[in-house]
């Protein structure tokens, strides 16, 4: 096996940002991403997923460490101030590391 350690970055944010963020992730070097619908609560209040303005998405990106840092910094400078968003990351072991 060609197992290797990569970084998994997770962004939880407003659903209306989904397509914009996905384009930006690719520009920052992500080779892929996985998205699930979510709801939640945070500093911007309750976002309970009932209708468009209240939906969250949970975007996961497996990538190299440098890309992970770029994504986190980008999210921070672009979105943290005005948007409901949480970003966190941790190392994961992947097969076929060349993919990411």
């Amino acid at each position: 096996m060609t197992d290797k350690t990569k970084t998994l970055v997770t962004l939880v944010t407003e659903a209306s940002l989904e397509s914009k963020i996905c384009r930006q992730l690719e520009r920052l070097g992500a080779t892929g991403y996985t998205i699930t619908d979510a709801r939640g609560k945070g500093s911007q209040g309750s976002r309970d997923g009932g209708w468009d303005a209240d939906k969250n998405v949970r975007i996961e990106v497996i990538c190299a460490d440098a890309v992970a840092t770029a994504i986190t910094e980008f999210a921070q400078s672009e979105y943290f101030e005005n948007f409901a968003m949480v970003v966190y990351s941790h190392p994961v072991t992947v097969s076929r590391a060349v993919k990411f």
């Binding site: 911007q44 309750s46 997923g49 009932g50 209708w51 303005a53």
Partner: protein, 314 residues
């Protein structure tokens, strides 16, 4: 008041206030609102098929101007009397200059249940009114800054779910005409009020959830959320009377003017004026103005329309 769709709305508010677990699944809410938007568009399109488009140009122009004007009235009020920051004032002003399809649908149902005639091309005016307030709102927040990406603003407006469904419905109704649309009438027209009833049930639940945040934003927002639609309804009613619309048409344009957006404008503002607090404008438009219009406003605007056409009208 005993129209069942209004009762569904009240039921939703009660269920929400009781902290019941009752919610429409979000996929169903989307389905219902898509059906309503298409149905409203189709109704308008069928009407367009019956008359030369050009004859509507004056109405379209006048209504577009009204959409530019209303946020310009709301903005200084929000800045000075309300003490809101520039971005928030501009965003709220845009919400109130634009329109709410849900309120419009309740207006339609009101006219139908009283068998009041209204000009069905009102759906077209609904689409027209979605747009100018967004542009004014962005300009109020940003000035003529070069930073504003007008291309993506335009995309956000026209490719946004609400407007594109209305435009699609209008286009389909227009091309297919009254006879063509008959085959899909059982779905889009016969079920209209039932679909609207379920939609209003969920809107009631959402409204109840916004009531809590009202406390945070204080009395001014409640006052504004009632006074502004009253003023706008008067402007809309006068304009409609001047345009020579029927009583029903005057009432519907007053309703449109009085309604405050909670779909298209929030989405556009989120992209273009992200520093504006969306919870604030939604608390006003969903927590105050939507229930006010649905429960009190529409019957009032209908009376206003009767009075206007009787005294001012030709």
């Amino acid at each position: 008041m005993s129209d069942p769709i209004i009762l569904f709305f009240i039921f939703g508010i009660v269920a929400g206030l009781l902290r019941s677990e009752l919610r429409l699944p979000s996929a169903i809410y989307d389905f219902l609102s898509m059906t309503l938007l298409l149905a409203i568009g189709l109704k308008g399109g069928i009407e367009l098929a019956k008359q030369p488009f050009l004859s509507l140009a004056p109405q379209i122009g006048a209504v577009f101007l009204m959409g530019l004007l209303l946020p310009l009235v709301a903005f200084p009020l929000l800045r000075l009397a309300g003490g809101f920051g520039r971005a928030d004032a501009a965003s709220i002003a845009a919400h109130y200059g634009s329109v709410s399809v849900g309120t419009f649908a309740v207006g339609i149902a009101y006219m139908h249940s009283r068998a009041v005639f209204y000009e069905e091309h009102m759906s077209l005016l609904l689409v027209v009114l979605e747009i100018p307030a967004i542009l004014v709102g962005i300009l109020l927040a940003r000035g003529l800054s070069k930073q504003t990406q007008w291309g993506s603003v335009a995309h956000e407006i026209f490719a946004g779910k609400g407007v594109i469904l209305l435009l699609g419905g209008l286009g389909i109704g227009w091309v297919a005409g009254p006879a063509g649309v008959e085959s899909i009438a059982p779905f889009f027209f016969d079920l209209f009020k039932g679909v609207l009833a379920l939609f209003l049930l969920e809107m009631g639940i959402i409204t109840a959830s916004k009531l809590g945040s009202l406390r945070r934003y204080g009395l001014f927002i409640i006052g504004f959320g009632i006074a502004m639609p009253l003023f706008s309804a008067l402007v809309g009613g006068l304009l409609a009377t001047a345009l020579g619309l029927s009583v029903g048409g005057v009432a519907m344009l007053a309703t449109l003017a009085a309604s405050a957006s909670y779909i298209a404008v929030p989405a556009a503002m989120r992209i273009s004026v992200p520093e504006a607090n969306p919870a604030l404008s939604l608390a006003a438009s969903l927590g105050v103005t939507f229930p006010f219009n649905v429960l009190v406003g529409i019957p009032l605007y209908y009376q206003l329309a009767s009075w206007l056409t009787a005294t001012v009208g030709v």
